[in-house]
Every structure is written in structure tokens, then in C-alpha cells.
């Protein structure tokens, strides 16, 4: 046939998919979250160290997935540890994805209600968002990857402009002194920097859909390096522009940074508007990738048709987003997600890899 019917994506699309899955709410909350713990301007070091750790994690996940060509984690976990334990492990992963989905869309609703649509009921924001996303998901991973491919360059373009403009109030002294309290605060910040990379678990779903699984390692490392770089620049710019103290007091430091200077002679005086636009689109991508992963997971674990799981998940996601009552609940949910991501990492890729290694090398089994 002239048309491609297989649901495969190219390596570039896979990289962008991963970038979009990771680059989400974090870009607004990360600077405050980390600064609150580190309390020195060395936050950027924490981001770099966290990034190195995450690249390692992604590497392990990719290598594990490459052992099973064309299979997602939901399928190969059963083959490694058996039907029931594999099912339980991956069900945990699905629940984790669902919670992230709820968290992302809730953050979106909070930011929108705070900056753009005061007084709009929260369901009015959550519902259309979930609907549009599910419309896209029903088109399969190919459509999702293509939409991401359209949105990604727009986001990057606006982000870079935003950062270039914010160099006007950038003051290098805000980032000094380096390592004033020693290296320890940097490591304490590591815990919360890893949180912003939550979601890199989609790698274990993504590799299965790649057209050339051999290029997976390179594609995935590229995919995680882009958000790493962007987060790094964000933190440097925000702290450099606002100082550590101001960042700790602000709810959404990145937006406050963009609000704190004016550009004369352009249509927009402040750059916060285009930034909010692309951030919303980015959150849409983020939400979509987890929505997709969780519905794919349910359909593969329990052998249900994909369409039905997408429909079935819609109210679940709505509930997941509605459970936190106040914005502080949302933030603490974010923290819990971060801890859960550590747990998930130990439970899924590490455990599975160890079992696979033992069975292959130790017991010489054919898996």
C-alpha cells in the first residue's frame, strides 16, 4: 500500500516525544522547588547532577527495552517475571502515569485560573482539555508524534526568545557565590531535581514503537538532553534574574521573571503571554503522552480494546485531577509523584533488568 499502516515512529519523532513527555509543569515549578531545599544559588549544579543521573536511568530503560523488539514494558514485564507479578508491576506503572496525568492537567487548570480565566469553574478547563487530548490519542502514536513535531519547534522558538529577552535583568551576582555552603546542599537538591524528570518512564513504551530500534539509545539520550538543557537554562535565568530569595517567595517563579521586565515597541509589552501559550501546548503534549501510555498499558495488561480504555480513562483522569483540594495539595502531590518516580525506577527497570540478567546469564534461560 502507498500508506503506512504500521504504527511506527521515526527516531526524531521518538526524541521529540520523550522531550515533550518530560518538559511539562516542571518548567514553572522547578526553580522554586529546588531553591527551597538548596537555599543557595548552586541550584544549577543540582540540575546538572540530576540530569546525569537521569541520563543513566534512561540508558538502562532503553537497553532493557531493546531486548524485546517491538514490545512495550507492559508486554515484556510479563515475560521476565511471570504473568501475575509482571501484571502487578506494570499496573503500578499505569497508576503512576494516571496520577501524573491528573497532576499535569490540574496544574494547567490552576495556572489558567490564576492568570487567564479567573472565576471559571475547574471542570470547564479540565473537560475540554481531556476531550481534545483523547481525540488525538484515538489517532494512535503516529498522529501523536506528528502533533508533537508541530508543537515542539514553536515551543523551543518562543522559549529561546523568552530567555534571550530575560538576559536584560540577568545579574551574574545572583548566582554567586558558588558552593558557599559546600557540596551538601547540591546533593540535597538532587532529590527534588529528579522529580522534574518524572515521566521519562515513557521510554519503555516508546522504544517499542520505533521504526529503527537500534537507534533507540541515541534518540532517547537526545530526547532527555533537550529538557535537561532547557531546565538548566531556566534555572540559571530565573535565579540570575530574580535572586534566590525572590524565587523562594514566588509561586510561579518563571512567569514572575517574564513579568518583571517590559519590552517597548512590540505588540506585547511583557513576554508572559506567548510563554503561557506555549507552556499550555507543552502541557497538552505532556498530558497526552501519559494519557496515551496509561491507556496503552491498561489495554495491553488486561487485553482490552485500546479505544475503550481511552474512553474509560477520561472520567478517571478527571477524578484524579479533582482530588487535590487546594493548590498546596497539588504541590505536595507533585512531591509524592517525585518519590514515586524513584520507587518506580527501582521497581520496574532495575528489578526487571536484574531478573532478566539472572535468568539469561545465571540460569541460561531463554526469555
Amino acid at each position: 500500500m502507498f500508506t503506512r499502516t504500521d504504527d511506527k515512529i521515526t527516531s526524531t519523532q521518538a526524541s521529540i516525544f520523550l522531550t515533550d513527555a518530560v518538559l511539562g509543569a516542571g518548567i514553572l515549578t522547578l526553580p522554586r522547588g529546588v531553591t527551597e531545599i538548596v537555599k543557595t544559588p548552586d541550584v544549577w549544579l543540582s540540575i546538572l547532577f540530576g540530569g546525569v543521573v537521569i541520563i543513566l536511568v534512561v540508558f538502562i530503560m532503553t537497553k532493557l527495552s531493546q531486548q524485546f523488539v517491538g514490545k512495550t514494558v507492559f508486554q515484556y514485564a510479563k515475560r521476565i517475571v511471570g504473568r501475575i507479578p509482571g501484571g502487578i508491576l506494570t499496573s503500578l506503572l499505569v497508576i503512576y502515569f494516571i496520577v501524573i496525568c491528573g497532576f499535569e492537567v490540574r496544574v494547567l487548570a490552576e495556572v489558567t485560573m490564576y492568570f487567564l480565566l479567573e472565576g471559571t469553574p475547574i471542570w470547564g478547563i479540565l473537560m475540554p482539555f481531556i476531550w481534545v487530548s483523547s481525540y488525538l490519542i484515538l489517532g494512535g502514536i503516529n498522529s501523536i508524534a506528528r502533533v508533537f513535531q508541530i508543537i515542539f519547534p514553536i515551543s523551543i522558538f518562543i522559549l529561546i526568545i523568552a530567555y534571550i529577552l530575560s538576559t536584560r535583568i540577568f545579574d551574574i551576582n545572583n548566582l554567586r557565590p558558588v558552593l558557599s555552603n559546600g557540596i551538601m546542599p547540591v546533593f540535597s537538591g538532587l532529590k527534588s531535581t529528579i522529580l522534574v524528570y518524572t515521566g521519562c518512564e515513557v521510554v519503555m513504551v516508546l522504544v517499542a514503537h520505533m521504526q529503527h530500534p537500534k537507534q533507540a539509545v541515541r534518540a532517547m539520550i537526545t530526547g532527555i538532553s533537550i529538557p535537561l538543557t532547557l531546565y538548566f537554562i531556566t534555572v540559571v535565568m530565573v535565579i540570575g534574574g530574580m535572586s534566590v530569595d525572590a524565587v523562594q517567595r514566588s509561586t510561579w517563579p518563571t512567569i514572575d521573571l517574564l513579568r518583571s521586565f517590559e519590552i517597548a515597541g512590540l505588540f506585547f509589552e511583557r513576554f508572559e503571554f506567548p510563554f503561557l501559550v506555549i507552556w499550555m501546548m507543552q502541557l497538552f503534549c505532556n498530558f497526552t503522552s501519559f494519557f496515551y501510555s496509561s491507556s496503552l498499558g491498561i489495554s495491553q495488561i488486561f487485553g482490552l480494546p485500546f479505544r475503550s480504555t481511552v474512553f474509560g480513562l477520561m472520567p478517571v483522569l478527571f477524578l484524579a485531577a479533582s482530588i487535590p483540594q487546594r493548590i498546596n495539595d497539588v504541590f505536595s502531590l507533585g512531591d509524592y509523584i517525585g518519590y514515586a518516580s524513584l520507587g518506580m525506577f527501582v521497581l520496574v527497570p532495575v528489578l526487571l533488568s536484574i531478573v532478566l540478567l539472572i535468568r539469561k546469564k545465571g540460569l541460561k534461560q531463554h526469555v
Binding site: 502507498f2 489517532g139 506528528r146 474512553f311 477520561m314 472520567p315
Partner: protein
């Protein structure tokens, strides 16, 4: 612990909302599947009961044939029976033709004169000539015509007469000669009205399919271009031709086109628009999935890109498949002008497409929802102009948008001499008066005017209509959720367009799936020496434009 968890159990209202979250898409889905099965019922033509009509040969008995023909065709007042005798003998003969469909001069001079006035041989010879011999004698020596087809079946004879042939029947011959070919009245070749260019050929397709295919052939000499014909329509048949470059086109694409054409099941196809709607991938999409053009030069360039052209008898619009969204925004002039102006104009058109789609919704979201995001002075200026306007911005913009749509629709139908005058009256005076009356703000008149003009900057008329339609949906989204609504509309549009395919080619192709080589001909039009390859997305057989 437990009581803390219970605290977080949502109220019943949230549960109802969650149910709604599920219910609405389910209803939508149900609706769309129903519509799809209802609209997109592409029932393949039932295998034609290939029982050939019973053979009913001509007998050669002149009087009997005449009676039979008269009985079957005599009801038509425009069918004429001209009886005469062959010169030099009393052999009766008859011409049957439909008035107005043949060349009268030719029949008089080349046929009647030969047969009635100048016996080429003596009576004796003519008497010997009977049966087979008379026929070959007529063909070989008497009638100076380029071709004289013979018909032996009554049914075929009837059809030929009705389609414009002049039939000659002679006593004793069990067949009829078609001595005059149909010469339908045609119009002159004129400049294509819907796709006029400043620079470029002035030739547009006409309603005659033979002229159209000839125009394609006249674009240049090649032995590569293939034109195949099909008959479509079950009650009234028309000729449909597909044209392609045999060494370029992807064979799978060609097969798909032929399959879809074979599946057309309709009694009559009035225009190529019928074909377009019957072969497209998704009838529920607002976007066209087949490009139409009046220009032979555009058609031939499309063929060289590996696309397929479909021409229908009686329609001056050729269809080009597959098509992507960006192709609808390109104009042949981009290539005829030098590359810098070509590229700039093309980018301008992309901007115009964006403006014609999004401006009203951006206006609504800024005015009604987020005036704080505008620069303060601009916000104050707009607020001042809107003072005294009694409507919310959605109603305000709908009033003006709808009246301008009415004006545009009326403008097509207005007689030529008063058209421009009415345009001025409608556009300028109504706009001015509406502002003076305080129904709309002057700012809005600017917005609507920019939108309307932008939508005319799109070279494909039908693509312009799509954007006009979608603009109203964007306005609804914006009026409900402001900026978030506009963004959601954009995302929905992106999702729809990435799902959409035209004959297997994704609709937003060079952008996504990303094909770097095709970007040379997307937003910019690269200098011709750089365009060494045919578009990647067509998966052509021959990739290179230059050897």
C-alpha cells in the same frame, strides 16, 4: 489515616462531572460513527450483470430498418431522417442525425453531394455493386472522409446517433456507416477566472475533455505522459480521464486512484466536484482532500511531482491527488517569479491564512477575557472605542462577520456592472454606519476587514472557504474559554490535520512527518538549481528532477 483519605474523596458533584467527561465524547463518537457510516457509504459498484444486450443486428432490409429506427427514435423531435436515392440507381438511402450536433457543411459537401450528384461509374457497374461491394466502393472511392466507422448492431447505431454521429443506411447493406463525427459547440479558451495570475500562461481548461487532454499534451513533448479514459455514471455516461507520468508516479498511488474511480456509483456526474466528493478519504473533514485547478500548467507540474490528474467531461476543473495543506497555499507564480519574491509572497500567504483563521478569536479572547495581557495603552485605546457598544465581543464580531459573509455571497451573484458598486455600499457604508450607530467598535471593523481580505489571499478558493468556516468555530471556542479555548482549537485542528490523509499522504506532510528535503518548497521557494528532487512525500519512482 483513613479519615484523612476520606477527606479527599471528591463530592458527588465531581462524580457527576466525571460522568459528563465520559458521556460527552461517547455521544460525539456515536454521532460521528453514525454520520460516517451514513455519509461515507462507499458501496462498490455491484459487478455489472455482464449479460450483453441481446444481439440485434441490422438486416439490410431498408424499409424494415427505417421503421424500426423511426419507432425507437421518432419520439425525439430533434432526430432527423433524410431519405434520398443514390445517384445513378434507384437504391434508397437515408441519413439519420441529431440536429445541431454535426457539421452541416461536411454532410452536404462530402456526403450528400457525392452520393446524389456525381455517379462515379456507369449504371451497369453500379448495379453489379451490391452487398459487400457497394459498401467497400463507398468507403474506398466515393466518400472523401478521414474515417468511416461501421455499425452492425441496432442498439449501437441508436447510441451513436444520439451521441451526435450521422448515420448512413443504404438498401441492401446489413450495416450503417457513421459518416459525420459529432462536432459539439465549444467555447473559446479563456483565462482561468478562479486562478488568475499576473505572470504565467493565460490558458484555462474548457468543458471539452478532448480539448483539455490536448492542452496537456501541448504543454510539451513527452512520450511519458499517459492519459487513460474511463466511462463513469450509470444512467448518463461521461468520459473521465486520468493523466500521469508513467515513469514518475508511484504505482500504488495509481492503483488506489483507479480503484476509487472504479468504485464510483452515481447515475450522473455533473461536475468534477462530484468525483472529488466520491473519492475523498474523509467526507466529514472540513478540509478538501483533492485539489482542483483550471490551469493546465499547474496540472502538468503536479504530474511531474508524481501526482495524478483526473479530468471529467463537461468540467473545466481538473482534480489533482494527493494534496497536502501546504500545496493549497502555493501558487504557480511562486515558481515563475524569481525565488526571493516567490518566497516572501508565499510566507505572506501563510501569514494571511493564519490571520484569516485566528484574528477574530484572538480579538475575542483579548477583549473579553484577558485585556490585561495587552500593552496598557493599547488596552485603553480599544476600551475607549468599545465604549457604548451594547454587545459582548462575540455578538459584536458575529454581526459584522456574518454580514460580510452575506456580502461576499451576494457579490458572486450580482450582475457585473453593479457588483463593485454594491461592494462599496455594503462594505464601506454599512461598516461606517454600524460604527456610527454604536453597534460595533471601529477596531472591530479593522479586524473583520483584515480577516476578509486575508481569506482572499489564499490562492485556492475552496481552501479559503474551509478557513472561513473554521474561523467561526474558533470564535466559539474563544468565546467560551478565551485564550485557552483558542489554544485548544489550535490543538484540535492540529490533531485533526495530522490524522487526515489524502490518498495515503498525511495532510501536513513536509512539516510532520518531517521531510527536510521538501522544506525547500514549503515556506520558502528555494532557487530552482537547488530543487533537484521531486517531493519525497509522493514516493515517486524517479526521484531526481535532473539527471
Amino acid at each position: 489515616m483513613w479519615s484523612k483519605a476520606v477527606n479527599y474523596v471528591p463530592e458527588w458533584k465531581t462524580w457527576v462531572e466525571a460522568g459528563l467527561t465520559l458521556l460527552a465524547p461517547l455521544v460525539m463518537r456515536r454521532l460521528s460513527t453514525t454520520l460516517r457510516t451514513w455519509v461515507g457509504k462507499r458501496s462498490p459498484q455491484e459487478p455489472q450483470a455482464s449479460t450483453a444486450p441481446p444481439s440485434d443486428p441490422l438486416t439490410g432490409d431498408f424499409q424494415a430498418e427505417k421503421a424500426r429506427l423511426k419507432q425507437q427514435l421518432g419520439r425525439n423531435s430533434d432526430v432527423h431522417f433524410r431519405e434520398f436515392e443514390l445517384a445513378g440507381s434507384q437504391t434508397p438511402a437515408m441519413l439519420v442525425f441529431v440536429e445541431g450536433m454535426q457539421n452541416e457543411d461536411l454532410i452536404c459537401n462530402q456526403v450528400l453531394k457525392m452520393l446524389m450528384q456525381e455517379p462515379l461509374c456507369t449504371e451497369g457497374e453500379l448495379d453489379q455493386l451490391s452487398g459487400q461491394h457497394l459498401g467497400s466502393y463507398l468507403q474506398d472511392r466515393l466518400l472523401p472522409l478521414p474515417g468511416i466507422p461501421e455499425v452492425t448492431e441496432l442498439l449501437e447505431l441508436k447510441r451513436s446517433i444520439l451521441s451526435g454521429y450521422t448515420a448512413l443506411l443504404i438498401e441492401g447493406l446489413p450495416r450503417a456507416f457513421l459518416v459525420g463525427t459529432p462536432s459539439p459547440r465549444t467555447r473559446a479558451i479563456t483565462e482561468p477566472t478562479s486562478e488568475a495570475l499576473l505572470r504565467g500562461s493565460r490558458v484555462g481548461f474548457t468543458e471539452m475533455i478532448s480539448e483539455n487532454t490536448a492542452m496537456l499534451r501541448q504543454q510539451g513533448r513527452t512520450d511519458d505522459m499517459v492519459i487513460e479514459s474511463f466511462e463513469v455514471g450509470s444512467r448518463i455516461q461521461r468520459t473521465l480521464a486520468i493523466a500521469y507520468m508513467s515513469e514518475i508516479v508511484n504505482p500504488d498511488l495509481l492503483k488506489e486512484v483507479k480503484d476509487r474511480i472504479a468504485a464510483i456509483n452515481m447515475d450522473f456526474l455533473a461536475e468534477s466536484g462530484y468525483i472529488e466528493q466520491l473519492i475523498e478519504d474523509n467526507p466529514l473533514s472540513p478540509f478538501q482532500q483533492v485539489q482542483n485547478t483550471e490551469r493546465p500548467d499547474r496540472t502538468i507540474s503536479a504530474l511531474l511531482e508524481g501526482r495524478v490528474a483526473i479530468l471529467l467531461e463537461g468540467s473545466p476543473f481538473a482534480l489533482l491527488v494527493p494534496v497536502t495543506f501546504t500545496m493549497l497555499i502555493q501558487s504557480p507564480e511562486d515558481y515563475f517569479e524569481r525565488w526571493l519574491p516567490g518566497s516572501l509572497l508565499r510566507m505572506l500567504r501563510f501569514l494571511a491564512a493564519f490571520l484569516s483563521l485566528m484574528t477574530p478569536s484572538l480579538y475575542i479572547s483579548f477583549i473579553s477575557f484577558h485585556p490585561g495581557l495587552l500593552p496598557t495603552e493599547l488596552a485603553i485605546t480599544i476600551a475607549e472605542t468599545r465604549q457604548g457598544v451594547p454587545f459582548p465581543s462575540l455578538i459584536e464580531i458575529l454581526i459584522l462577520e456574518i454580514s460580510i459573509e452575506i456580502l461576499r455571497e451576494a457579490g458572486i451573484r450580482l450582475p457585473k456592472p453593479i457588483g463593485p458598486a454594491m461592494g462599496i455600499v455594503g462594505g464601506l457604508i454599512i461598516g461606517e454606519a454600524a460604527v456610527q450607530a454604536g453597534i460595533v467598535s471601529p477596531m472591530l471593523v479593522i479586524i473583520v476587514a483584515v480577516t476578509a481580505i486575508s481569506s482572499f489571499a489564499i490562492p485556492m478558493y475552496s481552501a479559503g472557504i474551509t478557513l472561513r468556516m473554521l474561523r467561526f468555530i474558533a470564535m466559539l471556542f474563544a468565546s467560551v474559554l478565551g485564550m485557552l479555548g483558542t489554544i485548544l482549537f489550535f490543538l484540535l485542528l492540529c490533531s485533526h490535520m495530522t490524522k487526515l490523509k489524502s490518498f495515503g499522504v498525511p495532510y501536513v506532510t513536509p512539516v510532520s512527518p518531517f521531510r527536510f528535503n521538501d522544506w525547500k518548497d514549503l515556506f520558502i521557494r528555494a532557487p530552482l538549481p537547488l530543487m533537484r528532487h521531486r517531493p519525497n512525500m509522493m514516493k515517486t519512482e524517479d526521484k531526481k528532477r535532473r539527471s
